[in-house]
Amino acid sequence: MQPVILTTATRYLMPMLLLLSAFLLFRGHNLPGGGFIGGLVAAGTFILHNFAFGVQETRKLLRVNPLMITATGLLIAMGSGVVGLLTGKPFLTGQWITLPLGKGEGLHIGTPVTFDIGVYLVVIGATLTIILALAEGE
């Protein structure tokens, strides 16, 4: 039997929480937040889902094995390090491009941001791997 309040609440909370996690991730460079925190929030969201609907449902929702998410995250993080390498700088040197927004302001997009996305994915993947595997039991 599924707890009604929890399932209902989860249904409404999930999109908001995931949005929050993405928000935390992207604002992290300038305000509190970042890949670690965002990733933990996202992982927490799925764990909430797991408690409400059970592991099978959560795995269905995720579609991929969380280990794949971990691996993708690591690859993205390393890949953003390679970008610096390609320009002849040491591994992981930040590379930025600035998109002009007018009025002397600009939007900075750079490899540290993609690196943070990698961190975000690794945190989600590793946390979910652990919790889901434990929740499933043996």
Binding site: N30, A126, T127, I130
Partner: protein, 115 residues
């Protein structure tokens, strides 16, 4: 406040060590958590405490205000928190596995070096 945190670090550390020396597996793991918390707090405190102002560069400013908290220990601790969670999970499952396959409930029963 520094002094108070220092005392707290000592208490947490001592409690962690005490639990780790126990022969019950769960106590050992809880001791591990205590220890990592104590160390995080130690780094935080040893670097000096600054009330209230996070290490964030204010809009319009180019550099961080001098009165802000020290960002370096925070960066160290942030990753440490997440990692200790991973390590804790691993330790927990490893212990679980070991005690199940050896059907031991006392850490002293696990003294062979090559089982």
């Amino acid at each position: 406040m520094n002094t108070l945190i220092a005392v707290l670090v000592g208490v947490l550390f001592g409690a962690g060590i005490f639990l780790m020396m126990s022969r019950t597996p769960v106590k050992l793991i809880i001791g591990l958590v205590f220890l990592s918390n104590a160390i995080n707090l130690l780094i935080f405190d040893a670097a000096g405490l600054t009330r209230g102002i996070p290490p964030i560069i204010a809009t319009g400013a180019e550099t961080m205000a001098g009165s802000s908290a020290d960002p370096l220990p925070q960066a160290l601790i942030l990753t440490a928190i997440v990692i200790s969670f991973g390590v804790l999970a691993f330790a927990l499952v490893l212990f679980n596995r070991t005690f199940k396959s050896l059907t031991a409930r006392d850490l002293n029963e696990l003294k062979a070096t090559d089982t």
